[in-house]
Amino acid sequence: MIESEVMRRREVLRRIALLTGGAVAAPAVLACLQACAPKEGAPAAAAAWTPKFFKGTQAEVVTAIADAILPKTDTAGALDANVPAFIDAMLADVYAADAQARFNQGFEEFGGKAFLERDQAGRSAYVKESLEKALAAEHAGKPFILTTRELTLLGFYTSKVGISENMEYVAVPTAFHGCVPISSLPKPVYWE
């Protein structure tokens, strides 16, 4: 592992620790530094990874946005599902250059510094306001905040914890029944 990568990873970890109030179990963080594969069910803040796409404060800001949209409540939140790493990977490996550029430009306009200075309730209000603005305006391409939201939902509701805590995914349904009362379904259903 090259040194700059280690430094970058430590920096991300430090910032995420700050962001989540610093309550990070040190051994978990160190273990992750060694092995660096995000583990299912690990504490949210321990989800460290080497960003492939994010630069500067992007990882920190996107992590905070995902956390504001889908926070941990009595059920798991976006950070439990390693959504920030998912968003980073999607931007790096799935999004085309024009969509990446739009994301970067939108990030600059989002005002990450002012956002991060707020407490949790303040961040939530900031995200909501920014969503309202984005939805009210006409855009040539998808705005930063809507891309981040879409990826947050996609990452969470295709993750094991996101699916299993919120709906019933039946791997092998065995049969199709076309028209049943929804009241006959035991749990919320995973819809394709």
């Binding site: 939201r149 349904p173 029944h177």
Partner: protein, 561 residues
């Protein structure tokens, strides 16, 4: 040479090659079956059992895939769950004189592993239209002649569907139909009431009940996972790998070789017949010759036409069996310019369980009976209604627990459908060999020049307008018309490159799929099609292949080949 000699050689293992292998081996012929791609055995489906969270990138196509597989990506298919079934376009290039989508899977089973499984018969109307309308040449086969072969292949493959008594879409031998869901049932009723149009459940090669024969013990019933494209370890849908090749294997008469690229037929001038094929090993480049009494080309309409065009000799300077000049011409596909979608109000207390690997079908109604349009032929629609998922909250301001709770509820219903229309055979729509470019094996590539023309463009208007009109007529909200720029090939139903006909001056094959000028070569993939219908064609390839194999064995017995 002894060890390389067989009774029959089958080139390709897709829908048609699998059937040729099964029929010829079951009739006792020692048969060599060649595929240009890697070996796949039933059960070897690496992503088949992966849950959503086990697939990277939420199963979206990556930029790396788009870079290596730019053509395959035009369809949206090569996602992380499926990309191993689609060729690397950089390794397998071709020339597009006009933009042409050529979707391929180079492995044993070919595209029978990834096909959409929709299985419809052509109708008497389809077999008669060319003759009645003076289009191209008449079909040399009638519906009544092919009907028993449809019976045979449907029974073996297991096709689910409903009997409808529609003259333009003959019933077959069906396993029980899938259910239409609640919204689709209502759409069916209202379409019939308001417009007199039929909506039926799709007919598909998924086992909604056990097969009615015991020839495929390796196959179980469909488990309603709707992950068919990854390969089904349950054998719930028909593919060469799950169905026909295991039957061929059990006869003990099949030698199946992977990684063998057939690039040329061997022609014996004195005997006036083909004596075998020349191959290159896809991995080592080693050249080999294999010999046989008969050859079945089942390498796909474009693949088989390539082999024929590439097999030149003093007898066939313009390609094998190409006395008519029609080889490589008359490329057809299905016209697919879009469709419609809408939101459906109500039905919030209704749902479905399981994931149906099938949708609804609106059979052709244009130019049927008294309906007369400015264009020839018609189209059908394939679609489905469903409850919407979490993505309906992408463009929303809902956050936190409120958002989680909202997403746990089933979303409102949406409905969508896509039109598939007939494309007429035009001599001008053709492929040829581009000798200026070579692939990594040193073989020249294909150049395609095929476009939709006046009749198709005229039909496209109806295909989009009718889609919207039907959804509006039944009262759906926010009806959206989808308008796609269609390239020939994008429906992955390419056909017609070696059409059959009664007149050898105007066709490449006779009515039994034999090359007119060399009767021991049979071509039974989509090449033989004289018109395209608007129905998904694979079932028709199965039926004609089984019939041709039967004919080949009879002719061999009579000493005619």
């Amino acid at each position: 040479m002894e060890t390389n000699s067989f009774d029959a050689i089958v080139v390709g293992t897709g829908i048609s090659g699998g059937w040729a292998a099964k029929e010829l081996t079951e009739k006792g012929l020692k048969t060599l079956v060649l595929d240009r791609g890697r070996m796949i055995k039933h059960g070897e489906y690496p992503t088949a059992l992966k849950d959503p969270w086990e697939l990277p990138y939420a199963n979206r196509i990556t930029q790396e895939t788009r870079t290596r597989k730019p053509v395959q990506s035009r369809t949206g298919y090569p996602t992380p769950a499926n990309t191993h079934w689609f060729v690397d376009d950089l390794d397998h290039p071709y020339t597009e004189i006009n933009k042409f989508d050529w979707l391929r899977g180079y492995h044993v089973g070919g595209r029978s592993l990834m096909w959409a499984r929709q299985s419809y018969r052509l109708s008497p109307l389809d077999f008669e239209s060319n003759a009645k309308e003076g289009v191209a040449i008449p079909w040399p086969v009638s519906y009544d002649e092919i009907a028993p072969w449809y019976d045979k292949v449907e029974t073996f493959a297991g096709i689910s569907g409903s009997k409808e008594n529609l003259p333009q879409l003959p019933d077959g031998i069906f396993l029980p139909p899938h259910d239409l869901n609640c919204v689709e049932q209502e759409f069916k009723l209202r379409l019939d009431q308001k417009m007199g149009r039929k909506l039926i459940i799709g007919r598909c090669a998924n086992l909604t009940a056990p097969l009615t024969h015991d020839e495929s013990p390796q196959r179980g019933t469909c488990q309603a996972r709707n992950l068919c494209i990854r390969g089904c370890p349950y054998g719930g849908y028909f593919s060469s790998v799950s169905a026909t090749l295991p039957s061929a294997e059990r006869t003990g008469n099949m030698t199946l070789l992977a990684n063998q690229i057939v690039h040329e037929l061997i022609y014996d001038h004195e005997k006036g017949r083909a004596t075998g094929v020349r191959t290159l090993d896809a991995q080592t480049g080693k050249a080999t010759e294999y010999f046989s009494k008969i050859v079945f080309l089942c390498a796909s309409a474009l693949g088989s036409a390539y082999i024929l065009l590439n097999s030149t000799s003093s007898r066939f300077p313009d390609g094998f069996g190409n006395d008519s000049g029609e080889l490589g011409h008359n490329i057809m596909d299905h016209n697919k310019p879009g469709g419609s979608s809408a939101q459906v109000e109500g039905h919030l207390d209704e749902a479905y369980t399981g994931r149906r690997p099938n949708g609804f079908y609106i059979p052709r109604y244009r130019n049927v009976g008294k309906d007369k349009r400015a264009y020839l032929r018609g189209f059908g629609y394939q679609g489905r209604a469903q409850r919407t998922n979490f993505a309906r909250y992408n463009d929303s301001t809902l956050m936190g627990d409120e958002l989680k709770k909202a997403i746990r509820e089933a979303g409102p219903w949406s409905i969508g459908m896509t039109a598939f229309g007939e494309i007429l055979p035009y001599h001008e729509n053709h492929m040829k060999i581009d000798h200026s470019r070579k692939d990594k094996h040193g073989l020249p590539v294909i150049a395609f020049d095929a476009i939709v023309r006046e009749n198709e463009i005229e039909m496209q208007k109806d295909m989009r307008d009718d889609a919207a009109e039907m959804m509006e007529a039944v009262g759906y909200k926010n009806v959206t018309v989808r308008s796609d720029n269609f390239n020939v090939g994008n429906s992955i139903h390419e056909m017609g490159t070696a059409r059959m006909g009664a007149d050898p001056k105007k066709s490449v094959l006779n009515k039994y799929n034999q090359v007119h000028a060399c009767k021991n070569v049979f071509v039974t993939d989509g090449s033989f099609m004289v018109s395209s219908g608007c129905q998904n064609p694979s079932l028709t390839y199965m039926a004609f292949t089984a019939r041709a194999a039967n004919h080949a064995v009879e002719e061999l017995k009579k000493g005619n080949l």
